[in-house]
């Protein structure tokens, strides 16, 4: 008996259909979803093999691996969505080791009832981000959970990359005297996402800065292989990341408020809500700690890159047994930039 030419009796109804438990069941329904959506969108040789794993040759050298989970709400926000964020975030985690990203994996946990139209929108956005970054999604997984047991969709990823020889970038390597650079304006992503959240009604033209930073990192490492630390200030903002690095490296820091670029709309939104831009998330920016003699060269290279136009030198590390991140305010006074307890909440007082 010959098998029917068409594998599935009816194509997926992306316009009106919803994800149901069958799509996660490992049977024909799931195969159809994988084929008609994921494989079609990500469209690369490894994935098209339809194995449960991807096999590939690896160059010799030092490999890095990272994993991430994406649970953001709302799923779609100005400048991005959970899909593009997942690609950018994972690529960035690999890049922050100075590594060249090679490939990604993506696991989807989808809630029963999630509209196929939204799923396609997320996956196609992810595929676009992956192609633009030149980092393929080579393997994946799909699960469906009962209605009420998932927040629409969760995405988990892993990413691998190779570190160029001679590059050793890690959070504990900062030393007193090192320069601290940032690649652009602070707080854009957090404010863009907040503007869509219920209960925080404000309008803005601001969009998320979500972006893959690996080509920026490559340009930086090429001119200054002695970079000590790289990290992207995501949740918790600049303040959390600086405090993390200070604690890991056991140094203090002294930065200058006037040197930190912040867009007027971010300032305005933070003023309205009583938030500090230094605590607001970024998804397309990095912090670089480097030997002081490399600062000028690095700044030039960063500013020449499309994602680093507003790069700035914001301060230096210093010896300090308490690992304080101290800031000279715009008025010339001194204050500590602290590590927040939890997420910043809007305040009225």
């Amino acid at each position: 008996m010959t098998l029917p030419k068409r594998a599935h009796p009816r194509p997926l109804d992306f316009a009106h259909g919803r994800v149901d438990l069958g799509h996660g069941g490992g049977g024909r329904a799931m195969a159809q979803l994988v084929e008609e959506l994921f494989v079609a969108a990500f469209d690369n040789p490894a994935l098209s093999q339809r194995n449960d794993q991807a096999a590939f040759e690896v160059p010799a050298g030092r490999m890095v691996m990272t994993t991430d989970g994406y649970v953001i709400h709302p799923l779609f926000f100005p400048g991005g969505d959970i899909g593009s964020l997942a690609v950018h975030g994972t690529v960035n985690d690999v890049a922050m080791a100075g590594a060249r990203p090679l490939s990604l994996s993506a696991g989807f946990i989808i809630e029963e009832g999630f509209p196929l139209a939204d799923l396609r929108r997320v996956v196609e956005s992810m595929a676009r981000a992956s192609k633009e970054a030149g980092v393929p999604v080579v393997t994946g997984d799909t699960k469906v959970v009962e209605r009420g047991k998932g927040d629409g969709i969760f995405i988990t990823t892993a990413g691998i990359g190779m570190v160029p020889p001679g590059v050793e970038i890690s959070g504990e390597r900062a030393r007193p005297g090192d320069a601290i650079l940032i690649s652009g304006t602070m707080g854009d992503h957090g404010v863009a996402v907040m503007s869509c959240r219920e209960g925080l009604e404000f309008e803005t033209d601001l969009t998320s800065d979500s972006a893959a930073l690996h080509t920026l990192v490559a340009a930086m490492v090429a001119v200054a292989p002695g970079i000590r630390c790289l990290r992207d200030p995501t949740r918790g903002g600049l303040s959390a990341t600086l405090n993390e690095l200070a604690a890991q490296s056991k140094v203090g820091m002294r930065i200058h408020e006037a040197a930190i670029p912040v867009r007027p709309e971010v300032r305005g939104a933070c003023e309205l809500l009583g938030l500090d831009p230094l605590h607001v998330a970024n998804e397309g920016k990095l912090i670089c700690v480097c030997p002081p003699e490399d600062a000028a060269t690095l700044l030039t290279a960063m500013r020449a890159h499309p994602l680093g136009g507003d790069s700035a030198l914001i301060g230096h590390c210093q010896a300090d047994p308490h690992h304080f991140v101290q800031m000279e305010t715009a008025l010339g006074g001194q204050r500590v930039v602290d590590w927040l307890t939890g997420e910043q909440l809007p305040r009225i007082c």
Partner: protein, 376 residues
């Protein structure tokens, strides 16, 4: 941002600071209390103390409605949130403040209570309209700035017959608190030479209500805006008054504050709310005629009349020095609990529970001053 950025100019700040330095007599102390948490926050956040000569000592007062709310009232809010059918609606500031047993509204929410954050009483009303089967209780806190919005909401609810809306009222008043501090016996309060008066409270009540305290206690009061230049200028104006032996109310915040304030807002508040005989202030004890409740005509919208809300007497850790800190007798670093048991993550008393409490502000922005080993 217009009318904001100009008042944050570093160059002008240094000019005013130089004038203060020139006019403050170095051999005497100028002990100035900023009543308002917003000023505490501005001073810490901009590091204004570094621009002032050592003769100026800034003391942080109790003008933080989150800080001075007794634990018992937080427990009451949590109790209300646990009542069947209740959706408790609150400003963000209250969510992390722990009541007794370290339970906060945020923790109660995690345990299943229906607690939601709003930015405005308008949102609270909208929620009540949207959820006719829920009892929407608004957790009202704040000084005279925040009270009129509550009054508007109550009146609106009455006009619309929004019977599922009610208010748990904890509004407090500024002039009685200032008088309480100035009137405290000598051993119970720091000697104060002047007051930096609240900015936005004064847009509502005007500057006239401070005159009684200035006259009776012979201390100058300068109403100051919240921007750093406003604060610095107010310090200069106070230094001049003190040097000249004057004790007047002056208004630095002329762009928003008038002598009599916002009559429309005051009338609305007077229509909906009345004075409580007494109210407990965390860290200060009982203060007469310092708080408000809904008038009997609006009893239908008073959560304390709709439910038998428990009145508890929960008190702070005996080692907590907030009382002395709020009165300017001690500094945060002089409290044994500061930075050890008591941090913003685990606040033990009034001064740590809100970002603008004296201890929280010192921890978040200024604790590096307690150590001097940092070097470039």
């Amino acid at each position: 941002m217009k009318y904001i950025d100009e008042f944050r100019d570093g160059g002008v700040a240094r000019k005013i600071a130089r004038a203060i330095e020139a006019e403050a007599a170095p051999e005497r102390a100028y002990r100035l209390m900023e009543f308002c948490g917003g000023h505490t926050h501005a001073i810490s956040r901009y590091g204004l103390e570094d621009l002032l000569p050592p003769a100026i000592r800034l003391i942080h007062g109790p003008g933080c409605p989150v800080c001075v709310l007794p634990i018992g009232r937080i427990d009451a809010a949590i109790w209300l949130a646990g009542q069947p059918g209740v959706t408790l609606v609150t400003y963000g500031d209250m969510l992390r403040v722990p009541g007794s047993g370290r339970v906060s509204l945020l923790k109660a929410k995690a345990a299943g209570a229906d607690i939601r954050m709003v930015q405005s009483t308008q949102d609270a009303l909208a929620l009540a309209r949207k959820l006719p089967d829920r009892q929407v209780v608004f957790f009202a806190i704040g000084f005279e700035t925040t009270t009129p919005p509550t009054a508007v909401a109550v009146k609106r609810a009455q006009t619309e017959g929004l019977s599922n809306f009610s208010v748990f009222c904890n509004h407090v008043l500024t002039p009685p608190a200032i008088a309480h501090i100035l009137g405290a016996p000598e051993d119970q309060a720091a000697r104060l030479d002047g007051f930096i008066g609240p900015a936005h409270v004064s847009t509502v009540i005007g500057w006239r209500p401070y005159q009684a305290a200035a006259e009776v206690y012979r201390k100058p009061v300068v109403i100051a805006g919240f921007e750093p230049l406003d604060v610095l200028q107010a310090v200069l104006m106070l230094v001049r008054q003190i040097n000249q032996g004057r004790a007047e109310v002056e208004n630095e915040f002329v762009r928003a504050v008038t002598e009599t304030g916002n009559a429309k807002a005051q009338a609305l508040v007077a229509e909906v709310l009345e004075l409580r005989e007494t109210f407990e202030w965390r860290g200060l004890g009982s203060v007469a005629h310092s708080a408000l409740r809904l008038r009997p005509e609006f009893a239908d919208f008073d959560a304390e009349r709709r439910w038998p809300v428990p009145q508890s007497d929960a008190s702070d850790n005996p080692a907590c020095e907030c009382g002395d800190i709020l009165r300017g007798l001690k500094r945060p670093s002089q409290c044994k609990l500061f930075g050890t048991t008591c941090t913003p993550e685990n606040p033990m008393g009034a001064c740590m529970v809100s970002a603008e409490g004296a201890c929280a502000a010192h921890w978040t922005y200024g604790r590096f001053r307690d150590h001097s080993e940092a070097s470039p």
